[in-house]
Symmetry: C2
């Protein structure tokens, strides 16, 4: 049963078994360009038959660990698994393995988590909605090929994959105004750890909300609660907004996760959705589609974002130096949580 | 801004700065026993002031990577972050970093994910609800100190942290019978990849459901749909059960995640919860507490399980060889999704 006593299979064994050169095997292992599909299949078959496993430490000494590090802010946001599924799909045909660390509660903890991945010599780094400052991201990108997902800052050092958050927020606010709402409030995320404004997705969603309200002559109705994109944040934010008089007839939460918390606060206040208050989120997480919740949300296709991030990382590992930017245009998914405001039927 | 040009801080620099021996610094770095709190604080202060970071590869060559590998079946089950929070809490005061990989759709993919962690020379391995066979788990445990969470099989090679799933399932079925239900159905998980029966938490929850039904003279009412502990699985399972005639008045889903999918199926069938059908889950995830869902569930304290798993792993890394078993006794959290059956008021 145990294979620990057996001699470890080497790259030379694989080459002999496949009837090719060790250089060819090495190229397949590196997922290098210029390998024919037939050659790849042949080498892979030999690898499977012999049970060859490259040693990570030995590989690291030769310069590659075949590891992609992924930094997530947390494991609770149900949008992140969508991104990861896309990344896994992109890496499935390669020898790369994704390892995940979470960033923790603040920029300092996140910075340590990034260090942990760099110290483990990952070949590439995907940082999802990082909180550390741009200078720090650029420093990291100088050490390891990096892709940043969700930040709008432009950089020549790393690639960027993002949702067009301006379009997404316009869709939500436009939808609510179209239903007849005027007192539309927003739950956003308080800035954490980053100096420059207008670069995070949170800031863009909040700024776009305010801009559309002004453009529609609703400047006097702007009401923003800045908490966090979490259930707790949404709960606190909704409580803060519902204490206003008159209270809002619609709430745009910057993330589904926050909208779920807002639902609890609305329920506790004895208000029904959408009869008393309409509610919309952002991310179109699977839970938003659950019939009991049926939350109007913005779909930004996390799968495409994850697949793209994976492709860009592999290109960078292979040597690309120029920075690219990939933007997904989101769409609105209207559900039962939004309807005309209560006074519009009077 | 960049520190890449500077000479890297060494362990000797830290020792000099702290006024202690390099052996003492090394002991603190290893989180070894027998270091006084004062010594640890002094060395840690020097490490922080100088910005010392041990090289992971160099450490690996010396035998430690200060990495705990975590295998999760997926990232969508909202119970897993509770476990991880407990683990992080346990590791916070040490130099250990947790890295996460997901096991993928089947035992073969999971086995590759485990290999990936072993190849990256993790010092310890936490495997959450693994699908691979026990022989494979024991093989892995022979290579790396290992803790298995959620399996009931006994092993002398690894530690086990588990929920007393028998007690949990008894609580749910007893609660439903106490409310007056007789046609109580169960949504379970089809066995995947493991030979031995009665060892997975899924199997124990399903077997306990059947046992309690029999003990209560309800053998003829036993109805089980075996799908998976996921939203899709719960949806399919509930559709299968609702097609029965007469249909069940209560459904016990083996996991909250499956209960969420069952909710959608119930809603689509035009049935209301709990007026037409009562529904209970397992795991007491945060979403179960959301007012719109308010799902009766079983709490098994993932935080305690994660902290314990972390403590056991650190003990094993320090040399413990005997296998221990830690069991959490679950509690029932009744919410609005369960009520007396419709015909009981007639």
């Amino acid at each position: 049963m145990s294979t620990r006593q057996r001699r470890r299979v080497t790259i030379a064994d694989v080459a002999r078994h496949a009837g090719v050169s060790t250089t060819a095997v090495s190229k397949v292992l590196r997922s290098a360009y210029g390998v024919s599909p037939a050659m790849r299949d042949r080498v892979r078959a030999a690898i499977d038959e012999l049970g060859y496993r490259p040693r990570a430490a030995a590989r690291a000494m030769r310069g590659r660990t075949y590891t992609i590090g992924v930094l997530l802010p947390d494991l609770r946001n149900p949008f992140f698994p969508d991104i990861l599924d896309g990344l896994y799909e992109q890496l499935a045909a390669t020898d790369y393995q994704a390892i995940i660390v979470t960033g923790g509660p603040d920029a300092k903890a996140e910075s340590r988590a990034i260090d942990a991945l760099v110290d483990r010599q990952v070949d590439g780094l995907l940082m999802v909605a990082p909180r550390v400052a741009r200078a720090r991201l650029e420093e990291v990108a100088g050490q390891v090929p990096a892709v940043v997902l969700g930040l709008h800052e432009k950089s020549a050092r790393y690639d960027t994959v993002l949702d067009d958050d301006e379009v997404g927020a316009e869709l939500v606010v436009g939808h609510l105004i179209g239903l007849g709402h005027r007192r539309i409030a927003h739950i956003g995320q308080r800035a954490v750890g980053r100096g420059r404004a207008a670069a995070t997705l949170h800031e863009i969603r909040a700024a776009t909300y305010a801009r559309v309200m002004r453009e529609q002559g609703l400047e006097g109705e702007i009401a923003v609660a800045l908490t966090s994109y979490s259930e707790e944040g949404g709960y606190q934010g909704a409580r803060e907004l519902l204490a206003r008089s008159p209270r809002p007839t619609a709430i745009f939460a910057g993330a589904d996760q926050a909208a779920f918390g807002a639902l609890t606060a609305l329920h506790e206040a004895g208000l029904s959705v959408p009869a008393d208050v309409s509610l919309a989120g952002y991310d179109n997480t699977r839970l938003a589609g659950l019939s009991q919740i049926s939350l109007t949300s913005v779909d930004q296709d996390g799968g495409v974002m994850g697949r793209t991030a994976g492709r860009l990382l592999l290109e960078r590992v292979e040597g690309r130096r120029s920075a690219v930017r990939f933007s997904v245009t989101p769409t609105l998914v209207p559900r039962r949580s939004t309807a005309p405001p209560p006074d519009s039927v009077a």
